[in-house]
Amino acid sequence: MLFFLETVITGLLAGVMYSLVALGFVLIFKASGVFNFAQGVFALFAGLALYDFIAEGGWFHDLFGFVLPVWLGIIATMGVMVIVAWLVERLVLRHLVNQEPIILFMATIGLAYFMEGLGDTLFGSDVKPLNIGLPNGAVDFLLDNYNLYIEKLEIFAAVVAAIMVTVLAIFFQKTRIGRALRAVADDHQAALSVGISLRTIWVIVWSVSGFVALVAGIMWGSKSGIQFSLSLIALKALPVLILGGFTSVPGAIVGGLIIGVGEKVAEIYAGPFIGGAIENWFAYMLALAFLLFRPQGLFGEKIIERV
């Protein structure tokens, strides 16, 4: 029983990490109907940039001979992500207004490869341990009293994710800019006609998702170092999104949790019977089942089609 509980909790916390990446996807999808394939690379890019601002081995240190304190490094990285967002709007999106979603999607694939190459060139391709002083190790209290092994870092990530989701949900539902974001997602022309500037909205939304990518980058980087495999997590976020619904912020979280738990439980309890490595494909099978029976996901906006 205790082992089962530990499995579930570990799964939940791993799920939080998936959710963090999925959240970035949802934001951009909600606001521009674009599935941003580059989101995983954004997280990687943010992590790399942060590392270089605050670590001894980074080029900021090479250039100026000192490193930034962590908080300043985070702000500077956020600045970098805003610039990236602005450039994406300026160089990519602006020229693709009113194009088919599939074209925008292809553009983000290109963007993903470009950013990955750029990150490689700028920051190098070795694994970088990111240490910004987040708590790590097991939660002693639980380990001593209940013999449960749970990472402090993962608890911390869960708290951060919870706060972020709350803020974002309010932002989207209750504010003018949130409404403008949803409006842009729905109909470009109509949004323009009520005085919403597409350019501003796109810069805002890509910046916000850049911020989410930064948080995801920090969490993943603290957990397993910043490495290029981080961009592959984007693929894991896809089933998370199918489960939760592409347009739902809470959906991204719940989807991430279900996949996190499902993977771990399936691996441990069903693995021995069918040869293991379930963790690698479980999420995709689950997504497939969802596509068959509930294509809008758990929380996605109902697809309304009048005929």
């Binding site: 209750k174 504010t175 800019i177 409404r179 109909d187 022309q189 109509a190 006609s193 009520v194 309304i304």
Partner: protein, 265 residues
Amino acid sequence: MAYERNIGETILSVDQISLSFGGVKALSNISFEVKEHEVFAIIGPNGAGKSSMLNCINGFYHPQEGTVTFKGQKRRRVRPSEAARSGIARTFQNIALFKGMSTLDNIMTGRNTKMTTNIFWQALHFGPAMREEAEHRTQVEKVIDFLEIEAIRKTPVGKLPYGLQKRVELGRALAAEPDLLLLDEPMAGMNLEEKEDMCRYILDVNDEFGTTVVLIEHDMGVVMDISDRVVVLDYGKKLADGTPDEVRSNQAVIDAYLGVSHDDE
């Protein structure tokens, strides 16, 4: 008209507008003026360039030649968001609503240009942003009352029947408290009763708020009834403008509508 309005100075003046898409000339040398508080109709056969004309006025299209002067500001290339901010609101021929959002939220987006709090307060959803939200909600409720759509306030607009969607779209335009309201075929596809309702709303808006209305419409009965002046376009050229009576008796207009062969084709 039963009531009297003060037709004022020129609010919108379109001067020598020419617009082409590649080799296709959509508009050539169109000029007309719209006076304050007027109901002004643009009519013409299909493909005459009526919608293109509206798109030039609100900045969706940038004409290659000519200028649009709105409230004394002369401009050639204007962004749609700037046009909206300067007081131009519009509806579309094929309804362009935010389908996943409720009626209320759709109309709230119309208040976009009137909202001023910055993104910082917005993000926190606190302080000034919250107060502002409440004020605008009050305005939106007025629009909802005016259009008699209280019952569908919370309904996602994608689920509404066509006629009501048209009404919500008008509501969104009205929420911006525009000086100039552009309506692209507001009555297309409606039944008689819905058309009468829509006419009444248009006239009421014009009457109560003094909003200048420029509309495109195919139903000649409606156009001749509610418009103060009419401009007729055909193949991107202006055939005539004037009061409904003048236009009705204009030979070029009669030819265009009854289909006399065009020598210059």
